[in-house]
Symmetry: C2
Subunit: 159 residues, 2 copies
DNA sequence: ATAATTCCTCAAGTTAAGTTGAGGTCAAGA
DNA sequence: TCTTGACCTCAACTTAACTTGAGGAATTAT
């Protein structure tokens, strides 16, 4: 009958079973600062039960397309030494929700632009000026100037 | 005064200027089958104006989180030899839109689960059974069993 | 006709997010 | 106790999506 050495302490394998992550992924996440296990006398990692939730959060955030660095940023809002309280989780969840909302809004905006573009058939020049320019959340220093149907489809006055 | 060799033909540099992509990225995309330029007598690539739109589509789709492979799949719906017509673009745009809608719905569903989780504070066990299980679009063979607050927070009857 | 650009290929490097494997230690159960 | 399974570290490999650089050819500008 396998039971935790000390109630509330989990081995890396336990945590893997409970989150669905691989052991190697959990070690990797530790390296990236997403979890901070302690070590037992023999040098093995020991996790808190709260880490199950921490890693679940990581997985969900990844599904939403957040990078590990961004997730680490969010997780800094949780206390490190003690187990997070209800208030701690509520705070981080709200923060996260607002990030999500922004992402969803951005997707919808892009989709609506695409819709407009379908409407015009994406072959006329003037009627399809769908810029990206206003998207605050656009990737740094990259991205398309226009959506579909760029004004440069028009060769210019010399033609 | 720089002008296209033949009306409608663009060098890789022209295309880079017009899409905001780097020259190397365009070569890379060719390799991945996203564009199919011809070559001039000297072996240099020559693109059609329609490729501006093709690459804009690639950029937008990437913003939405589609991989190059997925985008290539979509672009197969466009004719390869001739320039795409309005009907061609309408078809692909509609296809794409439905993919988008599914993605947005999925995000919203996840967000709502997260909301429920905020409601319960994510610390009670039984009240927070937010499974991923039903998500058809979940990544293959991976992902969290539960959202935040796994039932395994409950140590079991032996405690 | 030259010089300056731009283009070409091919190989190697880069970042993110992990996985895999070698070689060795720790812990749990019979 | 002893063996087997779980764990440890560290280095190297993997895929996606590109970038960078070397060495050289084609175009364009003067």
């Amino acid at each position: 009958m396998k039971k935790p050495v000390r109630a509330g302490d989990l081995t890396i394998g336990d945590l893997a079973d409970r989150t669905g992550l691989s052991v190697s992924a959990i070690r990797f996440y530790e390296e990236k600062g997403l979890v901070h296990p302690t070590r037992n006398s023999g040098g093995q990692r020991r996790f808190m039960r709260a880490d199950i939730r921490r890693l679940s959060f990581v997985l969900v955030a990844q599904e939403f397309g957040f990078s590990i660095a961004e997730i680490a940023e969010q997780l800094k809002l949780l206390p490190d030494g003690r187990a997070p309280t209800k208030a701690d989780w509520t705070r981080i969840s709200r923060q996260f929700r607002s990030h999500l909302d922004r992402r969803i809004e951005r997707m919808k905006a892009l989709r609506d632009k695409l819709d407009a573009c379908i409407g015009c058939g994406c072959l006329s020049l003037k009627s399809c000026r769908l810029y990206n320019a206003g998207d605050a959340a656009a990737r740094h220093g990259r991205g398309p100037r226009y959506l579909l149907g760029d004004q440069s489809d028009y060769l210019g006055p010399e033609e």
